[in-house]
């Protein structure tokens, strides 16, 4: 049997494939359904938060920041409650990262404010002396792409049944409304105005009033939501 395999390239290839494929079959497939269940109270991202998440991805914040608090006292003391599986149910893709050049961000919304973030992203050393993080000034000028964020929200709603426009906790109210693009955009602008005012930067407030959401405002809305 073996010598036959060694001389038949086709069946050899099939053999190799079987050997390498079954680890995935046993390890990954059986847990799929179980892993995707959200924890109680988990909500999908609103349009502005999702736009901010896209900014986070575009500038590869995950190259230096993790979003995974491990169950050790030294980590829970520093960052808060350790991360739970169901908290990530609406994260597509996951953003755990693999390197902490900077601190973990999974619960950064608990202990940082909008104006802290704005100052920090404009000039990191102004709030954290000695920081090696670069400034992200282009985020203050670039306009967040709400349309692509809406396209993503609508896609996950349609394809993966992410519960937008649904009553999740049974109180008779829709928890995370999406609606049409115009409705969603208006809601995002209102939310953005609140965040922009919290940053205490007039240029950001002015931009939002003109109907343009700066990327930094969307990003801060996303970071504030990480709790």
């Amino acid at each position: 049997m073996f010598s036959w395999l060694e001389k038949n390239p086709f069946f050899f290839a099939v053999g190799v494939f079987v050997v390498i494929a079954f680890a995935g079959l046993i390890e990954i497939v059986p847990d799929f359904a179980q892993q995707s269940r959200p924890v109680v109270g988990a909500k999908p991202y609103s349009l502005l938060e999702l736009a901010g998440r896209q900014v986070y991805i575009k500038d590869s914040c995950n190259a230096c920041h993790s979003q995974l608090i491990r169950p050790f006292k030294s980590e829970t003391d520093r960052y808060g409650m350790y991360s739970l599986n169901g908290e990530y149910a609406y994260d597509r893709p996951f953003l755990w990262g693999s390197k902490r050049t900077g601190p973990d961000l999974h619960r950064v919304g608990n202990y940082r404010t909008s104006d802290w973030h704005a100052n920090h992203m404009w000039e990191p050393t102004s709030v954290v002396p000695g920081s090696i993080m670069p400034a992200y000034k282009h985020m203050f000028k670039n306009v967040a792409d709400l349309e692509t964020a809406y396209a993503e929200a609508l896609t996950v709603k349609k394809v993966f049944n992410v519960p937008y426009d649904k009553d999740l906790n049974g109180d008779g109210k829709v928890d995370v409304p999406l609606g049409s693009f115009e409705q969603a955009k208006q809601r995002a602008l209102q939310y953005a105005l609140k965040v922009a005012e919290e940053t205490k930067r007039q240029d950001l407030v002015d931009m939002v009033k003109q109907g343009k959401v700066p990327e930094i405002v969307a990003l801060i809305a996303y970071l504030n939501r990480l709790k």
């Binding site: 073996f2 010598s3 079954f22 046993i26 059986p30």
Partner: protein
């Protein structure tokens, strides 16, 4: 039945099965050499003597005919 149980049984079965295959393979390698059916070490020459004009270690039938 519980998926965990199926997974566990399947996993154990596979490990035993593959251990058999692995040992079978080792025995196969040495036995076929001992019986003189094959000499695996001669395949090492394929890297050393690899000119287009040098004779293959184990020629494919049809090619041998046409090239001779």
């Amino acid at each position: 039945m519980d998926i965990r149980l199926i997974q566990g049984v399947a996993y154990l079965g596979l490990i035993i099965f593959l251990t058999f295959i692995l040992y079978g393979y080792i025995i196969h390698l040495y036995r076929s050499e001992k019986k003189g059916k094959r000499n695996y070490e001669k395949y090492g020459k394929m890297a050393l003597d690899d000119e287009l004009t040098s004779p293959p270690v184990e020629p494919l039938e049809e090619h041998t005919k046409e090239s001779r």
